[in-house]
Symmetry: C2
Amino acid sequence: MGKQFLEITEKEVVERVIADLSAKLAKKNVAETEKVIIGEALGRIASTGIFSPLNIPPFDRSTMDGYAVVASDTFYSAEDKPSSLIIKGYIQAGEFPSHSHQYVEKGYCVGISTGAPIPKGANAVVKVENAFEYVDVAMAVEGGEKGKKIKKVKIYKPVAPAENIMLLGSDIKRGEKIVRNGTTLTPRETGVLAACGIKEVFVRKKPSVAIVSTGNELVAPGDHLVPGKIYDVNAQTLNDSVRDTGCVPLFLGIARDSLEEISAKMKESLAKSVDVIIVSGGTSAGVGDLLPTAIEEFGEIIVHGVDIKPGKPFILGMIQGKPVFGLPGNPTSALITFNLFVAPLLRTMLRDYEEGERRKTKRIKVKAALRIFSEPGRNEYVLVNLVKMKPPEEENFFAYPILSGSGAITTLSKADGYIFVEKGREIIEEGEKVEVELFISL
Amino acid sequence: MGKQFLEITEKEVVERVIADLSAKLAKKNVAETEKVIIGEALGRIASTGIFSPLNIPPFDRSTMDGYAVVASDTFYSAEDKPSSLIIKGYIQAGEFPSHSHQYVEKGYCVGISTGAPIPKGANAVVKVENAFEYVDVAMAVEGGEKGKKIKKVKIYKPVAPAENIMLLGSDIKRGEKIVRNGTTLTPRETGVLAACGIKEVFVRKKPSVAIVSTGNELVAPGDHLVPGKIYDVNAQTLNDSVRDTGCVPLFLGIARDSLEEISAKMKESLAKSVDVIIVSGGTSAGVGDLLPTAIEEFGEIIVHGVDIKPGKPFILGMIQGKPVFGLPGNPTSALITFNLFVAPLLRTMLRDYEEGERRKTKRIKVKAALRIFSEPGRNEYVLVNLVKMKPPEEENFFAYPILSGSGAITTLSKADGYIFVEKGREIIEEGEKVEVELFISL
């Protein structure tokens, strides 16, 4: 039975030892990263800057339903004096202009839908609202057959070059940083990653915790309960308690009360690179020195015995820089010592994640940095960026409206939130207090 | 283009419609249950009472390391006048007494470890601290060989019948209710379920949400980006936004801008018994009436067009009692309309789960219902049950200490929390204010 219970440590001392250890481990843990697929990236913290591998949009793209034209063909168009262009064909979103009837030259146009690529030759898009399609019977078109029906469109308003076109890479450029290191990935970020076709990202690792139950009398729930055996409770309780902290449990199964089996579980834990090991059972007098002996085989014992009840036989050891907790086999004692000593360590190791959660203020009052105009007759959500004010007011923010082309991914990724301008209001004055519904955590 | 945008509904009206709808759906949703394995039951709400299929402990079990005896053999034992018993053998936790050397008769005993089954004939256990093992050379044992070494134990203190034994079923009886309908399953409950060997439980269903992206120009992130196409953003954004509410997203893939494909996705959603359907894209003028037409094929349209910007083409329909949301294809507009109209509905449908979270007060001040004694020289955690006080103070509670055998699962499952009695304090007076660290949500 050796030195068991010879040195009972005071609860406060154990708490201090664990607090110091936690802080060290948390610092080390920030450097540890893992790769996750985008589908599992929500809520994780990016551990590198992330850059776009492609231009967005990947081609010049129409932002309107209408007609792709040579802008100069429309310069003299007016309500009472429309220009008239021949429609060579149509291009839909998802198509790519590859046929000659999808190329535009002066005097011609191509019907185009929102999101479709701009055909070669065109440099602007006339909105469908400013155009009228009709069928003309050919009169004297060069090379045309007399009497042939020709589709044409009347243009009632001029367009400038590039109007209603989102240019290749104008939203996000290839190589541009789209997520900063340390950002908590919300649906906005995962959406931007999807837009860039990114499938996997590196994120800060969540500590993983090996869980081992010891005891000859234990069988796993679900197995056949032979006489003399009982179902293992702690595997479930500790597994779920670890999940509750946000860390990742890894149950390694039941070890019999033998040094070989307990040592084998330690080796398995180390091989699996877990961050923390929890062994329940095997700490009290009956089973003897098995767990302490196993710990000393690989590392050292820091605490063995605390002045608390229940939970006196609690063990804390260190193996290769990883904490090993020995909790009593009694389920209530195991849960209490977990909550008292293990949970605070795991929470500190996860503190980046916890801080992200805590900083999730949903709304904030800020000052409008500019005069903001809103469309009359509509409730408008104006996307804004927040910029810190100068001292002595640096805890407050200015809101700058984001003026962005429709369909821009960057509107989604770069906005910090939005302000609501209710129907009937058309102007928010510079310096006016406004409330921002936040996308980000401050 | 039909009746699109003919009837723009006011934002407040849409919000009211959705609030009414949410309340109805939430009520209906409480009745929906699903089966989950214990490993995935954490945080779920039990939708039935759960009963133990077995007795716990499943056999009379020693609560101490020591010697299983016939109690009457020890009645006259004293420090200066120990009784002496012959040790027939030993039984360890996990073994079952099946050999004759594990049966006890008067004058004999069996060495026993904590958790081991009580051998036939024994009716009490003497703690190892009150016993001393030695080897006696046989003198005149009946039928014994002279000179044979006999293992014996001196007993220094009497034990009463049943002392240090936890009787079969004394912790939990077969058929006893171990979890109430409506309980949020914490590690305590999942531990008790494990103790009873229960592998699956019925829990309240979390609403599932089908997500469909529409657009000829979309390809799934990870697929090859052919010219003219862009990556689908909304599948990711909406999937993660649904996850953020706590509901279960089910992405059904990309539909091309065709009535057949959109209708097929509706059918697939219904076949999969989802609770809510979200379709993004296909709401604006360019794509025409596809989504509204598909909705009207199976159900009806409630709202088509809201006086907000962005988000004007928002659609709400109902198909077979399930809400169908049509969100704009533009990622920012999709996210804003999701947050504005879809998230509140999903949160209301999940309100049981949300209330469970909200009620998680960690600590509460209560009155001690009885005088509570604590062991001197140890920090003690006393498990308590809380009982409401009588009017007019019924918002306050009395704490009753739980006096329970060591190793009892019920201590874990029936305690509402614990009070901490620091070293040096031995008594908490009846009526004294104490702080309870809660296991449960109040």
